[in-house]
Amino acid sequence: MNVADSAIKSSRGDRLFMLGVYVFLCIALIVVLYPLLYILSASISSPKLVNAGEMWLLPKGITWDGYTLVFQNSKIWSGYLNTIIYTVLGTALNLAVTLPAAYALSRSDFVGRTLFVIIILVTMFFNGGLVPTYLVVKDLHLINTMGALILPVAVSVWNLIVARTFFQTTIPRELQEAAQIDGCTNLKLFVRVVLPLSFPIIAVMALFYGVGHWNSYLPSLLYLNDDAKYPLQMVLRQILVLQEMTAETTGAAISGDIAKAMNSKAETASLLKYAVIVVSTLPIIAVYPFLQRYFVQGVMIGSVKG
């Protein structure tokens, strides 16, 4: 009774408070959503209307020319292809190195694990810096190869710790010991018993590493000097940031039919920009809501100190 009484008494203040909460969340929703919707709309709107500020939310003067330009652009295609190759191979390497190491470090009967953990954790606080790392990559003859993009980021300490915590807390120790009594070697134990029970962590690792490779531009900026090897993000940098609107970046299409329909090079360029943002970001943004719980799980495991 008492509870209900006071609940009623304070209900007006509480309702006001809840109203505030929902208004705040609505503002957050609009502020984050608006730029995303704007880009989506601008990518299929007439660039003339977009540049004049007449298109502000819903597409106006719908045209698919932007996407035609993107698909006719050989540079974007080759960047896309390169990114897919780097992401797939890079992520495979990440998993192949991170998971076995994380498992070994999760075993309390593994002699020397404290030493190994210290060796690894130290690198979180001290690093050689840009130039000494560059010199190592150069001395290993990795400059201008795919190796420079995937080897220096083969393991992330954070992901390694997350995976180790997962193995430590969710794979029952008794199960492992029983398997060992049955004469199971460590390799068999890892491949046949531990990995099949670890789907969530494998998904989390693959996603964290994969998104990292897909979005990365700095290693290519530092270590690649051949345009043909550029990943998508480097091509995007030329188009979006450096705004190199040469015939080469905007593609052969400038002399094609679409160019005739456009008044200026600038309009073609602006249309291409919005379309290329959508094409490069959509794969991740579209897949992410379905995998959201894995991402969230990954952050949560990481937040458990261990």
Binding site: V3, G13, A28, A101, A104, G128, G129, F190, I285
Partner: protein, 324 residues
């Protein structure tokens, strides 16, 4: 699965387990028993030696005059010459001011927002609306820095940017966001907040899930309003998480945002956008002054480490929460 582990537990009482045996066995035996595990960690260790410890060894070129032909070992020592040159350069204080300015500005605006947002999420009823807001606000986390920089440049373009149009519509005369040095830090910080505030709530939401419901029940009996309960129950529960996040943020204060700043930098906003890390990149890899750049980078790391230790110590003394 469950039956299996019960069976194993039954075993526990009867038979001596191999690990218990192993604990009694000699060190050599224990190492030999798990020889495969050493192969498991070997690739990771090789990685850390090659790409982390070798560069640490290479840091010595900060005190040398590195000549590629002679190699790291045989290049002549010069002591602190590179450091002195850096400290006495005319750009030294500009770099320090910009680096700290951008970091502290980003911290002041960007740190409290995920906390407030997480508290609001926690109050909202579970349902489609809450889920939608969460999904949408997490999404920008997955946008690459390059696309982010591209969006900023496009939205703020003086001739066609939508932000400029909206400001004009409201009646504000928009400044030159991209080229006016006075606006660089604000553009950087606000875009950072837009991109990361939502994702930043996850860690606080995890902490909020641990709030004891009995505390709320007792507070309701005492007639505490909803706002008061958030302030006096939910907020104190996540203070340890807040402290840890603050320490981690302070420890990274000089390393902040290198990739985005590099993309947004131009010759007109340079005086307020040049930070230590972009300076290291330019002198080291663009101008190939290897030793000088390494010295500046080392100075950066040392300041970072000092800050981390200092903040950790303050946190330990005042709140009993710390990293170590």
């Amino acid at each position: 699965m469950k039956a299996q582990s019960q069976q194993v537990q039954a075993l526990d009482g009867g038979l001596p387990l191999p690990t218990k045996l192993a604990e009694r066995a000699s060190l050599g035996k224990r190492i030999r028993r798990n020889w495969e595990l050493y192969l498991f960690v070997a690739p990771a260790l090789v990685y850390f030696v090659l790409f982390h410890y070798l560069p640490m060894y290479g840091v010595q070129i900060a005190f040398k005059n590195f000549m590629p032909a002679k190699g790291i070992m045989d290049s002549p020592w010069v002591g602190f010459a590179h450091f002195e040159r850096f400290f006495h350069s005319y750009y030294f204080w500009d770099l320090i001011w910009n680096t700290f300015g951008i970091s502290l500005y980003a911290l002041a605006v960007g740190f409290p927002l995920p906390i407030i947002l997480a508290l609001a999420f926690n109050e909202a009823k579970n349902g489609l609306f809450k889920k939608t807001v969460q999904t949408v606000t997490y999404a920008p986390h997955f946008i690459s820095v390059v696309v982010m920089a591209g969006m900023i440049i496009t939205f703020l373009s003086p001739s066609s940017g939508i932000v400029i149009k909206i400001m004009a519509w409201v009646g504000i005369d928009a400044p030159q966001f991209l080229t006016d040095p006075r606006w660089f830090k604000t553009v950087y910080v606000l875009s950072e907040v837009w991109q990361s505030a939502g994702w930043g709530t996850i860690i606080y939401l995890a902490a909020l899930a641990g709030v004891d419901p009995q505390l709320h029940e007792a507070a309701i009996v005492d007639g505490a309003s909803r706002f008061k309960r958030v302030l006096h129950i939910n907020l104190p529960t996540i203070v340890p998480t807040i402290t840890i996040m603050l320490i981690l943020n302070m420890g990274n204060i000089l390393g902040v945002g290198f990739e985005k700043i590099l993309l947004l930098q131009n010759s007109l906003n340079m005086e307020s956008s040049d930070v230590i890390s972009t300076f290291v990149y330019r002198t080291g890899l663009v101008d190939a002054q290897y030793s000088f750049s390494t010295a500046v980078g080392l100075f950066n790391s040392v300041i970072n480490a000092i800050l981390l230790i200092l903040v950790n110590r303050i946190a330990k003394r005042t709140s009993e929460t710390s990293l170590w």
